[in-house]
């Protein structure tokens, strides 16, 4: 774990750049991480997903899988991939300032 500056705020991140303490997150950090990962601007649809991920993580201690995200967030899986290219669950978690979702076992 290392400390780094994102959007002028000091945050703790893991080796892959996921925040390890969700308390250190703010919206400016989200924008900065999004830009760095190829999303120039976060739309309302992005925010819907990011907020859903974050709230679910804070309430249950675990980030939802991509399938649960598709079923419960109201954003279909296909669109999730358009919004967050490559890995929607991973990227939305990163932008939302929560730890990397654990792959299932």
């Amino acid at each position: 774990m290392t400390m780094t500056l994102i959007a002028d705020a000091p945050v703790d991140v893991d080796a892959e750049g996921f925040l390890t303490d969700p308390e250190q997150w703010n919206e400016a950090i989200a924008d900065a991480i999004a830009r760095e990962n190829g999303i120039p601007e976060l739309t309302d649809r992005h925010w819907l997903v990011v907020t859903f991920m974050r709230e679910r993580y804070l309430a249950t201690g675990a980030a939802p899988s991509i399938r649960a995200l598709g079923k419960e967030s109201g954003v279909p899986i296909k669109e999730l991939y358009q919004l967050f290219p490559k890995g929607p669950a991973k990227l939305a978690a990163k932008i939302g300032g929560i730890p990397k979702p654990k792959g299932c076992i």
Partner: protein
Amino acid sequence: MSRKRIVVLGGGTGGTMTANRLRRRFDEEEAEIHVVDRDDRHVYQPGLLFVPFGLARVEEIVRPRRRQLRKGVVFHENEVESVWVERDEVLLDDGTVLPYDVLIVATGVRLQPEETEGLTGPGWNERAFTFYSPDGAAQLQRALERFEGGRLVVNLVDMPIKCPVAPLEFAFLADWYLRERGIRNRTELIYSTPLDAAFTKPIASEHLAGLLSEREIELVTEFNAGEVDGVGGKLVSYDGRELDFDLLVTVPLHGGAPYVERSPGLGDALGFVPTDRRTLQTPVKPNVFALGDATDLPTSKAGSVTHFEAEVLTENVARYFAGEELDAGYDGHANCFIETGFHKALLIDFNYETEPLPGRFPTAFGLPLLRESRLNHLGKLMFQWVYWHALLPGREIPGLGPAMPMRGKKQTTTHA
């Protein structure tokens, strides 16, 4: 205590083992025990892997559920309509209402191939198959017999799946089978997975990725299958990548049993039942417990897990009736043999905290861990007998307890 009524939903590995253990624990004056399942066919599921290669036939791995239950366990051949958690009652499809003092959810998972676009359309069971059901495995056996080479894609759509090593084992056995038939040089074998490595755990992943490359099986990672064209032979990922196939062997999406969704508060979005990872009690109500593939626990969906859980669960049902504190004894322990073909197999053993490590199981003189050996293959073959004759009746098996043994394991401190 006054006579209790225990209802077990599901007569598979977990339900049968638990009902039999509880029957030994309580005499008939103390508790009546009911098991509900929609059919009377108990499948020895590890055997399904061997069916496509003609190494086992479906009839050899299926037995009546009823016959696996001890005397004094009542079997209901019914679909569950729903569970009324507040009223402590289960409604069956014929209108029967079963009240309970303790409910045990052991209904496993259901396969959902229809959730992947195009998978069950044209080409299903012609060019695209799964060996995760007895019928699918039998159809695949006939297709493999006719197969004369081309691109064979093995795929798992998304986690969680039962027995996460099974698709890898399928790829290894396919390599062996195709070599035996002399058509391996005419076949490209591809293993595609949504994971970022061959398996979920780092050290085992490295070993398994090594084996894949030794066998010239191409590994495609982070491939989230979203669409199948069973006629054109194309598997398409959500991010637009394509894999052409002549034969597709896929492990479809898994969800919980349908009644879970019809029972308010019981399950999550995918129909799995949230369960305490140590005690196996569910948060929905203190008299509802769950085990096996039906739970949302962060461990493998596998028979070995269910077996270790059953011991803790039986103890906790007794403690619940006695008003005692529950045993937080389940540690996520899982172990599995991984068939690698050529009469060899690997063994892995792990729990919530410890990933599969090299060494020997259960002690320094036991079976080799994370290494191919004939002994492990024989262990896997012998296991069917152990399953029907010791595991399901609920007998204790020396050396196979719920707590994961560390004695034979080589501990590594650093790892790339």
